[in-house]
């Protein structure tokens, strides 16, 4: 970015000279202006955006990420919105509309068609009058800053497996950072590095500018499994970290009781964790974390082990504490694999890719709290994230410096039954559907849905495109076929597209006894995956291979046997023996 321009803009903002700031933006080309605008706090963006001429606003809407442009657009009254959209050049306007998910697009159309209410314009005008000068001149320094951190673990065959690719990341005061990514992508590992539990294999982590390893960071972690000590009472559990800080009995007691009350656990002091429900246990987990008044509160999938209602409840209470500033915590770092949870809570969302983990996107969600799951803006973000994670080519950022060897094809962990179910649903919906709608309809979390989507794509039955899933002709045939025809079609698709099953099939057909120990393939996979992943790959391959009548599996001997009567040609050759 251009430092003098940035300085000039900041200076005008801090003096309350909004028009001057708009003029600075006006002089830049739209892409640079969009970048500069995005670097400001959202409130300032909104105020600036309201002051712009429709022409500048239109140029910026085209240059900004569409989800952000959509939210900014709504900072202006409807008639002005309409004017801005009119000023966009037709190609860009079409692209902007095209990228919006159905709800958001629909709402925008409705708004633009509607006559603006009489008072709306004046209201907007009134808002324009009271423009405060911005007190905070420069952005605050980050609490935690990770520079080029990497992490590798040992593979079963002794080699190194990189789990986290070189990553830069910082956490600043006043924000909830939601780290989103599929399971096994390295979220927890990243959290462990940032919270000082494990050192990175390379790179530095700074805590207020000093190396983390040499500081005593005031952080706390809320764990998915609660990690309470079952032999201690609720009160004693909360006192554990206070005792570690050498706090004397009375003060410790008082602090623990106060924290317990703030999470709604009054009267449960003498209970043991095993007497409590999951939600109550996690409350104790929160109380233990909040008792130390951490500067950053880390949470590793804190709601994953809870049922939907309890989780929703607890999220609400946490947000009440946070937005009501009832806790001195400066920042929250939340790890989750649940897209809605990330959009619900995060001020900033970081999306991780996997193998190895690397930041695919890092953006702000400027929606006010509490957020409405069904609002168009909310769905806009949900849709955007789906789009992001189903499209590997949408990766931002430079390619990694050293050309990695081509990774071994990784089977998505989907059952054939799931694949068939998804295709049937898609076919019933006319062959194309938004992914978050599919997730909702099937009542699947993204973690369970994504492998199925990937599998249909891998087998050529469907393709995902901008957050939508579209069935292919072969997918349509599959969805409409009977069970036997499905299995044959599945077999052909698998043998055409799946490396591991191709290898298995080739090995089985070429061996004279048509049998092969599974261990052989485990050894092959050991060179490419971690132990747990090897097991999952084998499991998935067994499901697929058996469904496609490629082989049978004998668990007693742990061997694969070629399935003889698979097709008429094979049957014919079998008869010759």
């Amino acid at each position: 970015m251009n430092p003098p321009v940035t300085e000039k803009l900041r200076a005008s903002l801090s003096q309350g000279k909004w028009d001057q700031a708009v003029a600075v933006l006006q002089r830049l080309d739209p892409d640079a202006a969009a970048d500069l605008l995005m670097s400001l706090p959202f409130e300032q963006q909104q105020l600036l955006f309201r002051r712009m001429t429709p022409d500048l606003a239109a140029a910026l809407v085209a240059a900004l990420p569409y989800y952000h442009a959509y939210v900014l657009l709504h900072a202006r009254p409807v008639d002005e919105m309409s004017a801005i959209v009119d000023r966009m050049n037709p190609g860009e306007r079409l692209q902007f509309f095209d990228e919006l998910p159905e709800e958001a697009w629909q709402r925008l159309m409705d708004e633009l068609a509607e006559k603006p209410p009489a008072g709306a314009a004046r209201e907007g005008g009134a808002a324009l009058e009271e423009l405060p000068a911005v007190s905070r001149a420069a952005p605050a320094e980050p609490i935690i800053e990770a520079r080029h951190i990497e992490k590798s673990f040992e593979r079963p065959d002794g080699g190194q497996m990189q789990v986290i690719a070189p990553t830069d990341l910082s956490v600043e005061a006043g924000e909830i950072v939601a780290l989103l990514g599929p399971s096994g992508s390295g979220k927890s590992t990243l959290l462990r590095i940032l919270s000082g539990l494990t050192p990175p294999s390379a790179g530095d982590v700074l805590w207020h500018g000093k190396p983390l390893a040499e500081s005593i960071p005031n952080v706390a972690i809320v764990f998915q499994s609660f990690a309470l000590f079952p032999w201690l009472t609720v009160l004693e559990n909360v006192e554990v970290p206070l005792l570690a800080r050498g706090m004397k009995h009375e003060e410790r007691h008082r602090r623990a009781l106060g924290t317990l009350a703030s999470v709604g656990l009054e009267g449960f002091e003498t209970a043991y964790p095993k007497d409590l429900s999951g939600g109550m246990k996690q409350r104790v987990g929160f109380a233990r974390a909040l008792a130390v008044e951490p500067e950053i509160l880390f949470m590793d999938e804190p709601f994953s082990a809870l049922d939907v209602l309890t989780a929703e409840n607890l999220r609400g209470e946490l947000m009440e504490l946070w937005t009501g500033k009832k806790i001195p915590t400066k920042s929250i770092f939340l790890v989750t694999h649940n897209i809605e949870e990330a959009v619900l809570l995060g001020d900033r969302i970081i999306v991780l890719g996997r193998n190895p983990a690397r930041i695919r996107a890092d953006f702000r969600v400027p929606l006010p709290q509490p957020r409405d799951r069904h609002s168009a803006e909310f769905l806009l973000y949900v849709d955007y994230i789906y789009k992001l994670i189903t499209q590997p080519e949408l990766q931002p950022g430079p390619p990694s410096e050293r050309p990695a060897k081509i990774p071994y094809q990784m089977l998505p962990h989907a059952r054939p039954g799931g694949i068939a179910g998804l295709l049937e649903l898609l076919n019933d919906h006319g062959g194309r559907e938004d992914l978050y709608h599919v997730a909702e309809e099937l009542r699947l979390e993204v973690d369970d849905l994504l492998p199925i989507v990937e599998a249909t794509a891998l087998l050529g039955f469907a393709k995902s495109d901008k957050g939508d899933l579209e069935i292919t002709p072969s997918g349509k045939t599959f969805a409409e076929a009977d069970i036997l025809a499905r299995r044959t079609q599945f077999r052909d698709a698998v043998l055409a597209n799946v490396t591991l099953l191709q290898q298995m099939h080739r090995a089985l057909t070429s061996k004279s006894d048509h049998a092969m120990p599974v261990e052989f393939f485990r050894d092959i996979l050991d060179e490419h995956f971690a132990a747990l992943e090897v097991q999952r790959q084998i499991e998935t391959a067994l499901h697929w291979g058996r469904y496609g009548d490629i082989f049978t599996y004998d668990p007693e001997t742990d061997r694969l046997l070629l399935d003889q009567p698979v097709s008429s040609a094979d049957a014919g050759s079998a008869r010759l023996h």
Partner: protein, 576 residues
């Protein structure tokens, strides 16, 4: 109905004080009895050496002997506990020490008690040449060598298996080593430690006869106690005295079970690492009594609680002010490891020198003995399996029967087989069988329980729905065993066999060689070789035989049991 309001701090109504006094009475008596026993023990230990105390066979002497034996076992256990905690802690926390300590533990575990006798005794007597204390300490250490290893292993394994997120919670919240130990590691290890302690103490009773009366360098050493009483009675062929001794021993064991182990087990229930309340929990009236006692709770509040608080705060502050290990502790650790290394090298050199002097007939007797004991142990395990599997499954599948049978079997198992040896032997000799068959019966008596308990536990744990599925499909008896019962109990069975196998090798030293009615009965076997070598002071043979036994036990563990164990934990695990 409501009593008049009294000032809270001085609520001392006569009725409540009387009832609380009555409740505390047993505890007060117990404390006085303890004090008295301690005084008499102290007087005895400080007395000059009387290595050959005459053992009186009249029943009136038994309470005193029982007290002495009990004290030895308790003290040995206390030392075992300390050693266990230190050893397991170091092994679990220091990766470099772990690589050396765990194989060492494996080896020590496979060395029979008697092989420790000469070095332990000689060094202890040298330490306190003029007081009874020296011989006593030797005997206590001997008992310790039979108790400590499995406890150490259990604590080590527990500490290593602490769930990752709990350990991470301890790390993030910066618990000092002390707080982490007290609030996380020790509680997490508690259940395993309690069960292994019970087994260890039972082992102490088992080897009591061997530990209290033995020949060392032509000195016939005997310490007054139940073990030596039984041994002497057996030597004299006094059946009545043997019976008295056995009765008293069983009484002591049952009493210990009620007064010590049951309360501890019931209390340790709170360390169970499960997130939901179990439906059935062990229960102990003695524990209830202790819990309700005012004196006790006041004493605890006045002593233990403040001490714990002070210690934890102290270590917490120390931990907060220092980061990383201090220089001098590292140096001490380095110095210690160098010293240990030198010691080991020296010991190895000495050992090889001694082993090189073994004569050909001695070598032959060792290897022939090893073969014989190997066959005997395996045969014993086979026999034990043959009867315990069907019986255990039968009991385990019937919850009501299991509830009755389990306590009975526990008492039966807690009677040390060694105490019954004389009676069994008498019977066998009358029948005309020698120690050849006798030793197998003795080994069986000592080891079958481990398998039985585990089979019962395994059969109880088979999920009901699986049993119902078998009924629905109308599986025949054979199919049922093949498809459900055997796979279901397999992991438990392996656990039982591992313990029984180690126990049987160790027990061979008392089963294959027995002094009875002034004769020595023995049969071909490694245990007999070891016992004989101890008796005759032949250290070369003792060392050689011990090394062979350790090698065999460790090898069998590594090559047979451990793979089976791994198999049991992967393929045959019933997820429920």
């Amino acid at each position: 109905m409501a009593p008049p309001v009294e000032p809270k701090s001085l609520a001392w109504s006569p009725s409540s004080s009387l009832s609380s006094l009555l409740r505390d009475l047993p505890i007060v008596f117990a404390a006085l009895a303890l004090l008295f026993s301690f005084l008499s023990l102290a007087r005895y230990w400080a007395s000059p050496v009387t290595a050959q105390a005459p053992i009186q066979l009249n029943p009136g002497a038994l309470p005193r002997y029982a007290l002495f034996s009990l004290a030895r076992i308790i003290i040995a256990y206390a030392f075992s506990l300390m050693l266990t905690l230190v050893y397991a802690y170091v092994a679990a926390h220091n990766a470099r020490a772990e690589r050396f300590l765990i194989p060492l533990l494996d080896t020590l575990q496979s060395i029979p008690v008697l092989s420790f006798l000469p070095p332990v005794m000689v060094s202890m007597v040298a330490l306190f040449p003029t007081r009874q204390l020296g011989v006593e300490l030797g005997c206590i250490l001997l008992i310790l060598t039979g108790q400590v290893w499995n406890m150490t292993f259990s604590v080590y394994a527990s500490m290593k298996s602490i769930p990752r997120e709990m350990a991470e919670a301890a790390q993030t919240y910066r618990l000092s080593w002390w707080q982490r130990f007290i609030q996380l590691e020790l509680p997490y290890s508690a259940i395993g430690l309690v069960w292994n302690s019970m087994m260890s103490v039972a082992g102490g009773w088992f080897f009591l006869m061997a530990c209290e009366m033995f020949v060392l360098e032509n000195h016939d050493l005997r310490l007054p106690g139940l073990g030596s009483y039984l041994q002497t009675a057996a030597n004299a062929g006094d059946t009545r005295a043997i019976l008295w001794g056995v009765v008293v021993m069983v009484a002591v064991i049952v009493l210990m079970d009620q007064v010590v182990w049951r309360p501890i087990i019931a209390w340790s229930e709170k360390f169970k690492f499960e997130q939901v309340e179990a439906s059935q929990t062990p229960h102990s009236p003695v524990l209830d009594l202790l819990r309700r006692s005012r004196i006790l709770s006041r004493t605890v509040r006045a002593t233990v609680a403040p001490a714990r608080e002070t210690l934890t705060l102290y270590f917490g502050r120390q931990h907060a002010s220092s980061r990383g290990g201090r220089g001098w502790t590292k140096w001490i650790a380095r110095l210690l490891s160098v010293a240990a290394l030198l010691g080991v090298l020296y010991a190895i050199a000495k050992m090889t020198g001694m082993l090189a002097m073994l004569s050909r007939p001695e070598l032959r007797s060792i290897f022939v003995g090893a073969g014989a004991t190997f066959l005997r142990v395996e045969f014993t395990l086979l026999l034990a399996g043959l009867w315990t599997i069907p019986v255990g499954v039968y009991i385990g599948l019937r919850p009501r029967l299991a509830a009755i049978a389990q306590p009975i079997a526990q008492v039966a198992a807690s009677v040390p087989a060694t105490a019954l040896f004389p009676i069994v032997l008498l019977f066998l000799i009358r029948l005309g069988g020698g120690l050849g068959i006798g030793s197998i019966v003795l080994l069986l008596l000592g080891t079958q329980w481990y398998i039985l308990f585990n089979v019962i536990a395994g059969a109880t744990a088979i999920p009901t729905d699986l049993k119902e599925v078998c009924d629905v499909f109308g599986l025949g008896r054979v199919e049922r065993w093949r498809r459900l019962l055997l796979p279901g109990i397999f992991p438990y069975l392996i656990t039982g066999f591992v313990t029984a196998s180690g126990g049987a090798w160790n027990a061979s030293i008392v089963a294959e060689y027995f002094r009875f009615q002034n004769q020595t009965f023995s049969t071909t076997g490694l245990g007999a070789v070891i016992s004989h070598a101890t008796d005759s002071g032949n250290f070369r043979v003792l060392l050689g035989a011990t090394v062979v036994m350790a090698v065999i036990v460790v090898t069998v563990n590594r090559l047979l049991w451990r793979p089976l164990y791994a198999l049991a934990n992967t393929r045959f695990k019933l997820e429920g």
